[in-house]
Symmetry: C2
Subunit: 401 residues, 2 copies
């Protein structure tokens, strides 16, 4: 199950950035599961990784390499997360990189490894290494759609977004992402790769990545479970000849946010078992921290999520979630609750204008907005989530069987 449009949009190529995909047989025979990306010399690369203390071996390796030199290749396998694999996991990630380094004729330190899939199983190294030459041969600037397929696990659809803007010499930003379960990114989502042909220095690129991630991948939750492998990478090849400086930065970040938000919302639309796309909007909070606290408590409440799956305007569960979210000195009589613009609760009780029919009607669409006005400040925050369905339970009970 999934919500919204399932078609991958047109993904504009980025000059100076190539992608090659193959089936190495790691996941299911014949399914694409190994992706190599080539970054042209002189490009800037910024990346953010999971804050989970049990981070995967490739995350550890990426962090070390990024502090040493500029990456030239990214290699991603799906079907196995290489997480919870201890010392052997680090050796396997390193061996993958050294094989690709030999193939590409570059230093091993310029290669970043990524993995996604089941946790705690050793990487099937024979198949992975055997697949590298095929993926390498397929490298081309038009390889985005195949790569978007090649990084999926329990996802039911590929996820991508692309924008082109600017009058004389346009800039292009294109990105792909994967993720469907174990989704509450903390710094970044499961895996996302975004490239632009604009030129940004390392510092500015990292700032752009942080700003865009904060409002996109760091605002989604399927099941409150932060993955061990979350990684988001932003590449700037500079091939358009347009340099981003302090005057053009805000405009660039605005377009970057569009791509990031598209990708983050695509992950929620394809959340495991999802039948609803839910925006939780908190208004007039006293601080960002309390706005997010209330938003996530609602978005992660199993009772709210099951009511959503039944299109049931069981607003008492939303009030209960707000009430337990831990906001200091919350005056419940000030709180207002709206479901898709219908005022449901007011002054700590059912709104006088509310009818069960209006509430039921508001819950029917696939896209639901839960809007909470705390009326104690001026801060707003939005978090996106899914409903909780039998299908989620089935997928995750049967995941390894």
């Amino acid at each position: 199950m999934a919500t919204g449009n399932s078609e991958l949009p047109q993904l504009h190529p980025i000059k100076g950035f190539k992608l090659g995909t193959t089936s190495a047989g790691i996941k299911t025979p014949g399914r694409p599961d190994l992706v190599i990306m080539e970054v042209s010399e002189g490009s800037s690369v910024a990346a953010l990784f999971t804050k989970n203390a049990f981070c995967a071996a490739p995350v550890t390796v990426c962090k070390q390499r990024l502090s040493r030199c500029r990456p030239r290749y990214l290699v991603t396998n799906t079907g196995n997360a290489n997480a919870g694999t201890g010392e052997q996991g680090l050796l396997d990630a390193t061996l993958t990189c050294s094989n690709l380094a030999a193939l590409a004729g570059v230093d091993i330190d310029t290669i970043l490894p990524f993995s996604t899939g089941v946790i705690g199983e050793p990487l099937p190294m024979d198949r992975l290494l055997g697949g590298l030459p095929g993926a390498f041969e397929n490298l081309c600037e038009s390889g985005w759609a195949q790569a978007a397929e090649g990084i999926l696990t329990t996802d039911t659809r590929a996820k991508g977004s692309s924008v082109r803007f600017g009058d004389n010499t346009p800039i292009t930003i294109t990105g792909i992402a994967k993720g469907s379960g174990m989704i509450k990114p903390n710094m970044a989502t499961m895996l996302a790769y975004i490239a632009t042909d604009a030129a940004l220095d390392d510092e500015l690129l990292h700032l752009a990545l942080t700003l865009a991630t904060e409002k996109s991948f760091n605002r989604i939750t399927v099941d409150s479970d932060t993955s061990t492998n979350d990684s988001v990478v932003l590449i700037a090849t500079g091939a358009s000849g347009v340099s981003i400086d302090e005057t053009s930065f805000d405009n660039f970040v605005e377009h970057l946010c569009k791509v990031f938000t598209d990708l983050a919302q695509s992950i929620i639309r394809d959340g495991e078992g999802a039948t609803k796309f839910v925006s939780v909007v908190i208004e007039s909070a006293a601080s960002q921290a309390e706005a997010l606290q209330v938003a996530y408590t609602i978005a992660e409440s199993p009772l709210v999520k099951t009511a959503l799956s039944a299109s049931d305007p069981n607003w008492g569960r939303i009030l209960a979630a707000i009430g337990r979210s831990g906001v200091t000195d919350l005056d419940v009589n000030e709180v207002q609750l709206l479901l898709n613009s219908v005022l449901i609760a007011d002054h700590g009780a059912r709104a006088s204008t509310y009818s069960e029919e209006a509430g039921k009607a508001a819950m029917q669409p696939e896209d639901i907005e839960i809007r909470v006005r705390l009326n104690r400040g001026s801060i707003s925050e939005t978090v996106w989530t899914t409903d909780l369905t039998n299908e989620y339970v089935r997928i995750n009970a049967e995941y390894r069987t």
Copy 2:
């Protein structure tokens, strides 16, 4: 679905404490849904209530009354929580009390109201008030089992526990509780009433209640949702003639904890859709706070809970939950994980002695113990929870339909 033994144990009467139950037609016609309890004059009563800011009208009323005088009657309706009902909810709770006060010939301030059921609907006052005389007529010291039935909502079985101890003049403690969903008590569970014929002054009784609650109702979670109506009440009638003082206090609390823990675990065994009873034991933590943080992150992870429902030793999800629980400077290489005494993970990876067969076998029993050794201190904590099944989703999607 539920786990463990479904039979209500023998509930010893408590001299000086009577219970009367009737069907007022609030819930389903013919089902017991209204319970009055009578506390003999001179008894001490202590109570703890939910910390949810959206607390129910009866909780607000109870808190006011308890600060004013000693309760003589408790009145509980099921089928409707009288929460999210604003000003009208307070009027309805007060009207219930004034009717019972007239019937019993006592001051209204000596009556404590309790409600449980759907949130946000007005109390059906005609039926509730109409049922009071019947419940009042049924008051008797042997009314425990009927009352245990009368307070249930989505529960599939009545919950009670009773102990008798002491050589010459024994003391008896008996309690009943209800709760199955929206269970992560914060101070107290949904509803629990425990009475003893020991004599304790108000201060000692409150201390005993707090100590016993902390290790029982405050250590369980079904779905991380703290209810608006959580209340636990401890009554000491003193009718045994045995007074508890500082020398006998620890022994009394030990027996009290047995009853409290029995009741708390009964709620988990009857958790909505539960097929597993899960103890999450955290050992060698640096502090109680971090032990509980890790325990609840595991106990509330949808991915861990769905793996439990499938009897799948998907230990990678448990490591991922430990990793995201926010423990400062956690050294993952020190962490050890055991499932029903089988060592699963060690040094950040699968234990060398582990086999998938041993893991699968460990997950088959209905009762599962997840034991995590952080190896960074000397604090232990245990939290009890259930698995997450299709049945949980079904119950909560269909709750109001």
